[in-house]
Symmetry: C2
Subunit: 158 residues, 2 copies
């Protein structure tokens, strides 16, 4: 993790890809979103989606999984350089979350994040706020999911 001072507005991070397998889709749905088109292939075919597809909250949760994996890679790289990685703070909130197209069983989504704004926090000394635009595309290049996140980001101790 780099510190707030090193975050560049406009920087884009490729967060990696995730394949939404039918069993994963159903497992998430049984726990958190038990609608027929997330649970059962046949019922999904008869629905307005036309096939088994992931809960929107599943698509969002996978973004978090990939974001944390990316942060851990960056922290490991910082440690390898002999530097202390920056701490990532909590998020005051997210905006404009859109599920643009269904994510079907077997779909591979590729997630990315672009820094769109940064500012020093007025309320928390030692921290900044970084705003990112986050999105996922399917293998056809169609954007299926997006939202705008703001997170606290540690300022350089220097």
């Amino acid at each position: 993790m780099i510190f707030f001072e090193d975050v560049a507005v406009g920087a884009e991070v490729a967060l990696g890809s995730f394949a939404f397998e039918a069993e994963d889709i159903k497992r998430f749905a049984r726990l958190y979103d038990p609608q027929a088109f997330h649970l059962d292939e046949e019922a999904a075919k008869a629905s307005h989606f036309g096939g088994l597809c992931a809960s929107g909250w599943h698509t969002a949760s996978v973004w978090m999984k990939l974001m944390i994996a990316d942060a851990e890679r960056a922290a490991a790289a910082a440690r390898a350089r002999g530097e202390r990685p920056a701490r990532l703070g909590p998020s005051p909130g997210f905006k404009d979350l859109k599920w643009l197209k269904p994510v079907f069983a077997g779909d591979m989504l590729t997630y990315a994040s672009t820094v769109v704004d940064k500012r020093v926090s007025a309320s928390r000394p030692g921290w900044g706020l970084v705003t990112t635009h986050n999105r996922a595309e399917n293998a056809a290049g169609e954007r299926v999911f997006e939202f705008v996140a703001t997170v606290f980001w540690e300022r350089s101790p220097g």
Copy 2:
């Protein structure tokens, strides 16, 4: 489920409560948000949260779980009256999601939803759009989570 025409702006629905147990918090975190304060009690005590707490996406996913359970209860009640329940359509998106306070292991959250707007869909004949303000409070009555949702809602066939 009632039809779009019967949805009243200002109506509030109690969605019920959910207890965030430590094992549930860790299970969700291992899959989607593997940060130390969601995975391990001791590491969480040393973090800025001060204790094991739920992933924000877990808090959101439980809202979905309770919303679906409420919709199923309403659909069963409609069928018991000899009526066809309205279909609930997909969501074009959510806005202004805020995680206001940590949700700690053992916390019981109570979720509620208030209709704040409704309008006929210009793009989908037979459907309206209903906007709700959704929130969760802990046992101390503190709001910990909120967001604004818009969903497609079936119009009355009559």
